[in-house]
Amino acid sequence: MPTETTKSIFLQGARDAAPFVLVVGPFALLFGVVAAEAGLNVVEALTFSVAVIAGAAQFTALQLMVDDVPTVVVLVSALAVNLRMAMYSASLTPYLGEASLRQRALAAYFIVDQSYGCSVLKYEQNPHWTIGQKLAYFWGTVAPVCPFWYIFTVVGAMLGNSIPEGLALDFALPITFLAIIMPMLRTPAHVAAALVSVIAALVFAFLPYNLGLLVAGILGMVTGAEVERRSAARAGDA
């Protein structure tokens, strides 16, 4: 077995996360374009991506602001999309909890779908890693993902203003969201949550301030959790 240096582990993380550039780049580009279409300048779009660094929540906030929804509802809806980050944080804690507060704060900022997904998998496979090696891997997964998020936001925002009207860009966001939702539907519980969310959002669309989305989110979440609980109970009986 080759000896694992901190550097080799960092490079391993970078290699594992590298394919995600193909997703993150176009996604950030699209955010920049949609942001420019919504009237944001390059600095505003970039600040958005640096401050939030979570595509789905950024697109949600942007769409709701374009729809002139009250600020509080924009924030609550977009933060609801990001609640999964709290779950990531909780599940990384047993592995990274012993790092210094400064390192944990810095790592927390960079918890995204890709860095979390790669890291948790490797931490399970390598329980012997020291805290230094675990952090090295985490930073390795961040390196090819997060910088591209910023860079392509800027490129998109610069392109956005020069894209002609007839391109039906209004539908770029729904198509992108549908494309990222489908692979998330891994279990019957996920499918049930998504279906209830769709139905509830359409049924409660009459509610003011886009509150229908929050109702749909809560009902979908409860449905997913309940379906999971029941199928786990059934598996336990068998």
Binding site: L75, L92, P174, L178, A179, I181, V198, L213, G217
Partner: protein, 109 residues
């Protein structure tokens, strides 16, 4: 178009801080005490509970067609969903969905 600069910056700063706190909550503050199982169970479904609800009205009542169901956009959405369910490939789904949209707008429009 977003006209209100104050609102925009409130959202950027608020969402930035809120997102950081969500990420920092456990790793930074709670320590290694595990979360109750029922909390984790609900958190697992937040993204799939919110995003479909956000998209559904945009597909059914597009603003670009003054809120009436649009055959071209609906077809594009269905193609995106089917390709996504089949291949689980995000970029391929976006590409074929967008291609369908332009083809349908050209043929139907």
């Amino acid at each position: 178009m977003i006209e209100d600069r104050v609102e925009l910056w409130l959202v950027i700063v608020g969402l930035g801080l809120g997102s950081f706190l969500l990420r920092f909550a456990f790793i930074g503050l709670v320590g290694s005490r595990p979360l109750p199982a029922w909390v984790m169970r609900h958190l697992r479904y937040t993204a799939v509970a919110v995003l479909p609800g956000l998209v559904a009205p945009l597909v059914m009542w597009p603003a670009a067609t003054q809120g009436t169901l649009d055959p071209a956009r609906l077809t594009a959405a269905v193609v995106t969903i089917v390709v996504g369910a089949w291949t689980r490939n995000v970029l391929l789904s976006i590409g074929l969905g967008a291609g369908t949209l332009y083809a349908a707008l050209y043929l139907l429009g």
